[in-house]
Symmetry: C2
């Protein structure tokens, strides 16, 4: 099974756990059987491999998410990195070319495309396999998953099938309707269009060559910025006569708001939290080191992270975006491919950060123009390289770096350090990277 997971968007709707660089699919919120928490990305990857241990999984995403994917999945999944955002048609074309040229998937094999973030159970992955098998038959150029609606949603487009068989030709597509129109569609037997579909690799490759014109994956990647923004639906689906839809009646939830996300939580709280007995339908997700105490609340979600604190009526939580747009604040925490960082203190001319490097990992060899830095190792062992000079480091060591000086840390064990930055114009963009020679 070749799966392309479309991993999009910034995560304003799940602020403060998502921010400009951590999208919602990376929030660790689902309890696993081993009592740990996994993110949507980790959950869906685990579910795919359970359904098909030999699946080829490719995540189509932006550069900004690569660190988070490496942090959460290691090197297990392939990544088709979009140099910039150009909507779904270029993204799917690029990922398909990546499958063909990099992953060496043959032109006759089926490819399944689905968004990374619906909350689904194992039956969904069985359905994906069937979707791929149907596409491989070649009865149609595209086979869409039609999800049996559970309510007249305004959030999805609808597919009207020609008949009521499990696999049916598509009669028509309908744009996102209002509730009453959605009710009418459902009475006609309409299905949700969840953006899940399968095709033979060469179908999309040919379409892409025809519409964009390119030699191979690398050439498409190189000129990605020049491509027109256009959706796969508009560029391909709406113009394709040979389309089938396959029904899926299992669970398929879009966890895009705090309201829907908390419905999928196994327990009422994650992190340090206390609630009194009068709390009803209250969820606390607390990524801070200090406790949250909730008393006498109903239908409320409380979410706290180094970015801020949300306290919202659950229904109201879907209207969060314009408020989060107003917040003008630097990123306060991030997962990186090598570990994570968290801002501890911000002053006009200084910033204090806690850096955690995973064992065996290192940050880039880099320098800053406008700030001095001091590292104070608080735990772990490793090696620092400062202007080409190596030194072994461990808890208690203090390393000073003037502006312009090149530096990195290589962690032998997990290594934590406090970094104090000093300068008149401290800015994440003030960073030049070098190879470590």
């Amino acid at each position: 099974m070749n799966i392309i997971l479309l991993s999009g968007g910034s995560g304003k709707r799940l602020w403060p756990l998502s921010n400009d660089i951590r999208s919602k699919q990376f929030i660790k919120i689902f309890k696993t059987q081993t009592e740990e928490y996994e993110s949507m990305v980790q959950r869906v990857y685990r579910q795919i491999i359970k359904a098909d241990p030999s699946a080829t999984v490719t995540i189509a995403t932006s550069k900004a998410q690569v660190s988070s994917i490496h942090n959460q999945l290691g090197e297990k999944a392939g990544i088709s990195v979009e140099p910039c955002r150009r909507d779904t048609f270029p993204a799917i074309a690029l990922a398909t070319a990546y499958l063909h040229d990099v992953r060496k998937v043959s032109e006759d094999e089926a490819v399944i495309v689905c968004p990374v973030d619906p909350y689904v159970e194992d039956d969904y992955f069985t359905a994906l396999k069937e979707l791929g098998a149907q596409a491989a038959k070649g009865q149609a150029n595209l086979v869409l998953m039609g999800i049996e609606p559970t309510y007249p949603s305004e959030k999805y487009g609808y597919i009207i099938p020609a008949d009521s068989h499990k696999v049916s030709p598509v009669s028509t597509f309908k744009e996102k309707p209002d509730v009453r129109t959605a009710e009418a569609y459902i009475r006609q037997g309409a299905l949700w269009n969840g953006g899940v579909f399968a095709y033979k690799l060469n179908y999309v490759l040919d379409k892409a060559r025809e519409l964009i014109g390119f030699a191979d994956y690398q050439s498409l990647f190189d000129r990605y910025e020049t491509l027109e923004k256009i959706s796969f639906d508009y560029a391909v689906v709406e113009k394709e006569p040979a389309i089938q839809v396959m029904r899926f009646a299992g669970q398929w939830k879009d966890l895009g708001t705090w309201n829907t996300l908390t419905e999928a939580m196994e327990e009422s709280s994650i992190g340090k939290a206390m609630m009194d007995e009068d709390c009803q339908n209250v969820h606390v997700i607390n990524e801070l080191d200090v406790p949250v105490l909730a008393m006498g609340l109903q239908d409320v979600v409380i979410s706290a992270s180094p970015e801020g604190i949300l306290v919202s009526d659950k229904g109201q939580s879907s209207y969060i975006k314009p408020f989060v747009d107003k917040i003008d604040q630097q990123i306060m925490f991030a997962d990186k491919s090598w570990g994570s960082f968290r801002v501890l203190d911000v002053e006009t001319e200084s910033m204090t950060i806690k850096v955690t490097l995973n064992a065996g990992h290192r940050m880039n060899y880099h320098s800053h123009k406008n700030r001095d830095e001091v590292w104070h190792v608080i735990s772990g062992k490793g090696r620092a390289v400062v202007d080409g000079l190596n030194q072994e480091i461990e808890a208690g060591h203090v390393i000073s770096m003037k502006a312009g000086c090149r530096h990195t840390v290589i962690a032998e064990t997990e290594l934590k350090l406090i970094e104090v930055q000093l300068g008149k114009d401290i800015n994440v963009h003030d960073k030049e990277k070098f190879s470590l020679g």
Copy 2:
């Protein structure tokens, strides 16, 4: 006017803004005319001086609060420090002896005692002056303020006056009643006993000499720990036949819970906060550097500090104490006489702290047995003394101190530093103080 302000208690009911070392009277929550915020202590001191610029103000309190008082009032108010807590009779006796022996108040002058924390307006201080003047007349040994009740409270004792004049002999005292009994008292013309009273200095001095037996302030201070815990009401008031009550009909609010405290706030939020239009009767008090977003809430208080986050229905907030008692966490921030500190990060064998020293102030010269420390100066100028050696310091300087080494910082301007502590048993009690020679 000689005023003794009784400043008691730890502040669990106003967690997370109060903690074991910051009592509620030090929370800066009241907006002043200059758009700054002041605490209960600062507000009441300002109001007293406005009513009587030459007032002698003495705060009777424990050692734990001395730093906070100096931080908020400087050296303006006298402090009668109780070496340990021994209830109100020993506290008032000690403060009265302090007034006599240290502040040289004569035995014939009136002294007014009142709690530091009721929320009152200027008319209250006019009433305090009248209370003192009435005590100075010598018609009675004690003159109590009788507060006209605004509702049948279960929180106060009641005073039944003998007549309905402004100044009346006391007929009887009543213990804290239930609501129905309180209603009956109020129908009889009862007044709240707010613990506000005046006496001629020698009256309490004589009582204290009679009941405790001591030579002067210093000798009473030295044997304070040996004194019996006994309330002023029980030791003095209940046995005194010559008592008058003076009516007070102005505002007198006890701001002991989040519910009552938020009623006294001029605006719906302090600190970084956003609310949507559906929030009704919501108050946010946010001492963190990151925003709180409240959506669709009614009758809720949200309070955030480095200690934690409270989200509570306002009515429910008075039941907070047992939950806060369960929190087993070190102090995360504190105001000191020399400035303040805030814990930024806690690990098993390290702690990172931000220290702010006010201009002209210094911390104690001290050492630690079990931890090394490093200071990173992030702003300001001053002088560090490390094992007797002086060095000028400014932003960018790094000073390392091994366990056992004596150290202090003297701030010339406001000085901020990041302190990284490293050791196997980091503990606030691991501190030995020295004189700076």
